[in-house]
Amino acid sequence: MSLGSFLLRRLGSGALAILGVTVLVFAFLHLVPGDPIDHLAGGEATPEQRAQLEHCLGLDESAGAQLVTFLGHVADGTLGHQCPDPEHKPSVAARIFAVMPYTLALALAGMLVGIVLALPLGVLAAVRRGTWVDTLASVTALSGIAVPMMLFASLAVLIFFAELGWLPGPTETGPLALLLPAICVGTHLMAMLSRMTRSSMVEVLDEDYVRTARAKGLPESRVLFVHALRNALLPVLTVAGMQFGSLLTGAIIVEKVFARPGLGTTLLEAITERDYPVVQGTVFVIAVIYVLVNIGIDLAYGLIDPRIRVR
């Protein structure tokens, strides 16, 4: 299959998934009992004000018409407007895109931290299989999976900001302030990837081409990192890609602990304010990012493993 048709097919199935998710979230937000007007308008609103708000939110239309309206807002790039007073408030998309860079930076930095820590740990555990190094790596990985991110993030703030004062703490947004949140987001990923790298490397290290590379007299670092790791990387990359979603959701928790702006903070604010257009829009944007990242990962396979390109 050519790259073009592969990309087209993946984009098609991705679009279908996004549409499915949109309909699903739409259904939950609109069909479950609970009136957003009560919350937005407050107790003293006149029937006219309520009707106005209902019209602004589009709630006076049928569910089907509302869905079509939302899809229209997706097409025009605004993702809807915030009620009441839509003229004087930024569109939902503007509100989301203003904070999106913070979350993307956090998720990507978290992924970088996860991968940078996991690869050496996994390779080391595979090479020193069965020794104390392997056990230590396993215990580190298990701790990374077991300790809840909320606890890890709280302790990280307490130790590195409050006690030692080494790193910037909550509410700061500079590049250095990204480090601590990124470590918190990346630790769980590190744990999963290091286990994956270890088992993948253990398999690859027994392959003939690794023996050949050693027999040729290549330095061990070259054998490990160029010949073995490159081939062991495929399943690791798959898991890393699949975990991007959990990085985004991890970012929601870390954003709360560090009081950082971002998609998570916006989503939680919108939920508290019962601002359904923003809830719907944020969920939609996260779904799109997630689907696009997965397509990107699929394409990246081809770069790492030429066999996949031919298939």
Binding site: L16, V25, M150, V157, K256, I286
Partner: protein, 263 residues
């Protein structure tokens, strides 16, 4: 594996007996007793409302157990049923089921949980359980379908069919018993996943609206992290969650033939 099973058993026993073992009422507010350190009367101290921390921990274990057992049972039942039907009947049933699975997997699960819980102002246990089940079944369905697709070609299934056994009979008597093994690994990890997600929802203020879930305790611990003498509070629910997570990972890896011996 054995250590994991023992750790998990401790969680189950404490979850079952917790409310009877708890020395105090986990909702009894006494502001005169705020932020007390550990003592003979309050083994783990008290929280910002003067509530006994040990009692919160034990009642929280009950909630964690109830939610995880309900979500895992419902999700596994629905998932195994859908996966078995999809794998057995194939065709349109399979196509529809797998497209739904694809949609739910093409999406960070906790976000859907949040979207569902967000629709209710004060979610109770029931809403949280429903939200977690909404996409919890997907993994089970995938595994079950894959297994059934492989199993339906086996000789004993052909033999049962030749003997005139009906589709439902083959599914329930011949296929489902063979799904239990692989599903068990998933069920084990499912407990950990449910407890983590529920804790995250509670932490974000979207969980069951009580103060003693482990997630709500974590949120309180984080909020009062700056208070000297109260810093160990956050460790109590955090380590409780870590305890269950270590247990399910040890048991799950022990049950999984692919991972046996890696930890």
């Amino acid at each position: 594996m054995k250590a994991g099973a023992v750790m998990f058993a401790v969680f189950v026993v404490l979850g079952l007996l917790g409310p009877w073992l708890a020395p105090y009422d986990p909702t009894h507010v006494d502001l005169a007793l705020r932020f007390l350190p550990a003592s003979g009367a309050h083994w783990l101290g008290t929280d910002s409302n003067g509530i006994d921390t040990l009692s919160q921990l034990l009642w929280g274990a009950r909630d964690a157990l109830v939610i995880s057992v309900c979500v895992v049972t419902i999700s596994a039942t629905i998932g195994l049923a859908i996966g078995t039907l999809a794998g057995w009947y194939r065709g349109i049933v399979d196509e529809v089921a797998m497209r739904i699975v694809d949609i739910l997997m093409a999406f960070p699960g906790i976000l859907l949980n949040i979207a569902i819980v967000a629709t209710v102002r004060r979610p109770g246990l029931g809403v949280v359980i429903f939200a977690l089940c909404a996409n919890g079944w997907v993994g089970y369905a995938r595994v079950a379908r894959g297994q059934v697709l492989a199993l339906r070609e086996r000789d004993y299934v052909s033999a049962a069919r030749a003997l005139g056994a009906s589709g439902p009979r083959i599914m329930f008597h011949h296929l489902v018993p063979n799904l239990v093994g692989p599903a068990l690994v998933q069920i084990t990890f499912g407990f950990g996943a449910v407890i983590t997600i529920e804790a995250a929802l509670s932490f974000l203020g979207l969980g069951p609206q009580v103060d003693y879930t482990w997630g709500a305790m974590l949120a309180q611990g984080t909020a009062f992290l700056w208070k000297a003498g109260f810093r160990t509070y956050v460790l109590v629910p955090g380590l409780a969650i870590a305890w269950v997570m270590i247990a399910v990972n040890l048991v799950g890896d022990g049950l999984d033939p692919r991972k046996r011996g890696t930890l």
